[in-house]
């Protein structure tokens, strides 16, 4: 390298002749920096994935217990004197006996049954024993009796839910430590619960009613379920699909196949990509102002929810559908035009069928996102407490007040009783199960119809 000096490069700048087989200090330093840099990348990925895992794990462990429920099974004699004072077996007259009458009957029956079974009730009074029974159980018994007055006078075996605290004790949420500071339950009651489990009065089983019951009030978390939310979400998704699919396909066909390149279509394009990034809550404000205040659609209804979510989802679906249409090679279009098809025939006979799987995949993924959307639904009143099932889809059920799965997650999470946190997490499990199914359908569709041109 002596020539280097001659050519104007300072000799000091030239590296000394070195072997490739040894690394100098600088090289070692550079390689250490390289290893560090790579480690940052691995750490970032490990961190993201472990947070994902922790989140899913905590929600799963919190929520899976929502699918189990403690029940009390004991015989009750349906005392005709108390339940039908008039003695006419007329359901209308019997309806005058309120739930309180049934509550007392059940309480007495449980106390009597414990005594009959010889279970010690040391340290608890009758009121404490009554606390074991869910406040929803008397109402159910009342409905049962009113529907079939012939039951009066018989002794039937009632199997009703235990109250939230007792349920929580069997699931480990309520412990002797928490009971000691909880005014709603005492350690003695928990001792009794242990004895009742031994005697087979208090049992725990899979809780189908978590999926079918409507929401319940703060005092009876054990009775609450996702029935209304699942119907509401199903209605909404159905309507969103009906609204967005034709709209999205039509808009993307126009933009990809027919639109001239001018300022107007440019404006539409910019608009669509910006709408896809507008915060979802803004769509809620739009829905409140336009659909409820201006158009006068009923609050809390699946229809309004679906309209809002449709407007929100449409840009995503248009973007996906356009990508699918763009992926159809021009040669197909040329071939169709070449045999004398009109532009419109080319698009509807050739391009659209080929793009259909892609459009469908994009739509399903769009719907999956829409299913989890919460914020805009809060503004149009879907967070309301809805205890009645909406009517069937052809009886105007989409105009009835309803709620939605993600909204139910939110409204349960904001209640004070920790039993609702468990149900909130349980609702997430149901929600995620739907999302997983939708994504699997999308992936299968993509795999099955994926075409490489």
């Amino acid at each position: 390298m002596s020539d280097a000096t001659a050519n104007g490069i300072p000799a000091s700048g030239a590296p000394a002749k070195s072997s490739l087989l040894t690394q100098d200090a600088l090289m070692r330093k550079r390689n250490a920096a390289e290893a560090r840099f790579k480690a940052y990348g691995i750490a970032a990925i490990a961190l993201s994935l472990s947070v994902l895992f922790i989140m899913l794990w905590t929600i799963f462990t919190d929520g899976v217990s929502a699918f189990r429920q403690a029940s009390l099974t004991f015989p009750v004699t349906l005392d005709a004197e108390r339940l039908d004072p008039e003695g006419n077996r007329n359901p209308e007259e019997m309806a005058r006996v309120t739930t309180i009458g049934y509550t007392n009957l059940l309480n007495d029956a449980l106390v009597a049954h414990l005594a009959a079974e010889g279970i010690s009730t040391e340290g608890v009074d009758d009121g404490d024993i009554a606390d074991f029974i869910s406040r929803g159980t008397p109402a159910e018994l009342r409905d049962q009796v009113l529907a079939d007055p012939a039951l009066l006078g018989q002794t039937i075996t009632v199997s009703g839910f235990a109250s939230g605290r007792i349920d929580g004790y069997l699931k480990g949420r309520v412990t002797r430590e928490t009971a000691a500071v909880d005014t709603n339950i005492s350690v003695e009651q928990l001792d009794l619960a242990d004895r009742m489990v031994e005697a087979g009065i208090l049992t725990s089983g899979f809780n189908w009613r978590f999926l079918t019951n409507p929401d319940a009030s703060d005092q009876r978390p054990e009775m609450s379920g996702l029935g209304v939310a699942i119907i509401g979400s199903a209605y909404m998704m159905l309507l969103v699909a009906i609204f967005t699919l034709p709209m999205g396909i039509a808009a993307s066909i126009y933009l990809e196949e027919f639109a001239p390149k001018n300022r107007w279509t440019d404006l539409i394009e910019v608009n669509i990509s910006n709408l896809a990034a507008v915060p979802s809550i803004v769509y809620g404000i739009l829905g409140l102002a336009v659909f409820i205040n201006f158009a006068g659609f009923p609050q809390s209804s699946s229809l309004v929810g679906a309209l809002v979510i449709s407007l929100m989802t449409l840009p995503t679906i248009i973007i996906a559908a356009r990508a699918a249409i763009r992926a159809v090679p021009p040669s197909i279009r040329d071939a169709a035009l070449g045999v004398g098809a009109s532009k419109m025939q080319t698009v509807f006979h050739h391009v659209l069928p080929l793009a259909a799987p892609g459009i469908l995949t994009g739509t399903i993924l769009g719907l999956a996102t829409a299913l989890g959307e919460t914020a805009p639904l809060l503004l149009i009143g879907m967070v309301a407490f809805v205890q009645n099932y909406p009517a069937g889809p052809f009886d105007g059920g989409m105009l009835d007040p309803a709620t939605a799965l993600p909204v139910q997650v939110y409204s349960w999470a904001s209640r004070s009783d920790p039993a609702f946190i468990e149900r909130s997490a349980g609702a997430i499990i149901v929600l995620l199960a739907f999302l997983v199914v939708m994504n699997i359908i999308a992936i299968v569709l993509r795999r099955r119809f994926e075409r490489r041109w």
Partner: protein
Amino acid sequence: MSVFLLIVVLLVLGIAGYVLGRGRALSSVGGNPRKLHSLPGYYGWHGAILAILPALVALTMWVIAQPLIIERQLADFFPAEQIENDSQRVLLLTDVRRVAQGLDTAVAAGALTEEQAAMIRTEFGSVRDRLATVGVALGSEVTPQVLQAAQRYRELAATGGLWRMIVTLAIALGGLAWAVRTTNGDLRARNRVEVVILGLLILASTIAILTTIGIVLSMLSETIRFSTMYPFADFLFGLTWQPTFQGNSELGLIPLLWGTLYISLVSMIVAVPIGLFTAIYLAEYATPRVRSIVKPLIEVIAGIPTVVFGLFALVTVGPFLRDWFAAPTGLGTSGSSVMTAGIVIGILNIPFISSLADDIINAVPQSLRDGSYGLGATKSETIRQVVLPAALPGIVGAILLAASRAIGETMIVTMGAGAAAKLDLNPFEAMTTITVKIVSQLTGDTEFNSPETLVAFALGMTLFVITLGLNIFALWVVRKYREQYE
């Protein structure tokens, strides 16, 4: 005839139009379809479109216009000063509609006959009680004016409904007749049908514009109403947020804006390095196999609904931060805090940044990397000094998009940030954001005539302007970047 039934009838007429149009075209050429200009089906569609479309347009306009016209007619029932006041008019008309609907329900349930409903007077007893027996709950007793207006409303609506049916069906039948009359073998049916279809396609593509206009108008009009009730400068620059139900609320934007920006900042501090390093590793280091496993897993995070993150913040992250950081250091006692919400939003944004940055890094030409390797640079030197600077504009765009998402995020802050509007620097304090306050001001039964409610629209407008500005700028940056390497 109800609107639904009318539409069904229109569809039936459309089918008739199809059959007639197709048949007439074929018979005009003696049954030889080759003599037709278009395929026979197009003549059918031509007939169907003419039967349905004009009538449907008329019906839509009627449905929109009728309530407006009726409401104008009802003005006579009320004193002028009540009608001229915007908010009072809205309330009165809502009452009228509700009573009218109540009467409808009562008639439908058989509690009243049609005559009774038209004749019922407040003097004869409580209308409220009678309606309550059929399950129509009214908030207050019905005044005579409102009841009369409601009865007039029902009369007008019934007349309107009758004319609606007559007009719609007349137009439909007229269109059908015209289609049949003009159909012959030379009619360019395909071209006509295609023009209509193209029109529908164009209509569908303008939905995006309409949505934007809807968003802007709905928020702008209510914001303007808000500004007539509350000084707008106080809203924009006020340092206190203290809504009260008695009035005299202080509705200053600054504390909410501060909470929003602070939480977004924390979230970006979490999301940007993690997302960027994830993208770098996936794009530059990972083998195709690792990439094909890790990338979808990271994107699972993006597919989880935000309410799930909200619950995670509320139940897990909040208490964890409180018990391990805030309480031991004495910085705070609340599980809801800027940190809680910020960190969780950051997690939510990791896949967003990483997949955008991944795309952008992959768009950097391989020749630049080769150039750097050819000079003896290590991989990390190449990434830091060549790839990232080349990708910088795109990455900045991605970060801005993520920031806009963080600013507009609602569920996580609603469940994890708290509700107290504060101007504070302590990240372990509960603070609140624009989106939280939009939710809390608009949830539940609200009347849209107090500044406390309307301020939500002004907040929405603020949010929309901020995020839209960020988005437009970010998309512009990303687009410029893409063009550079195309």
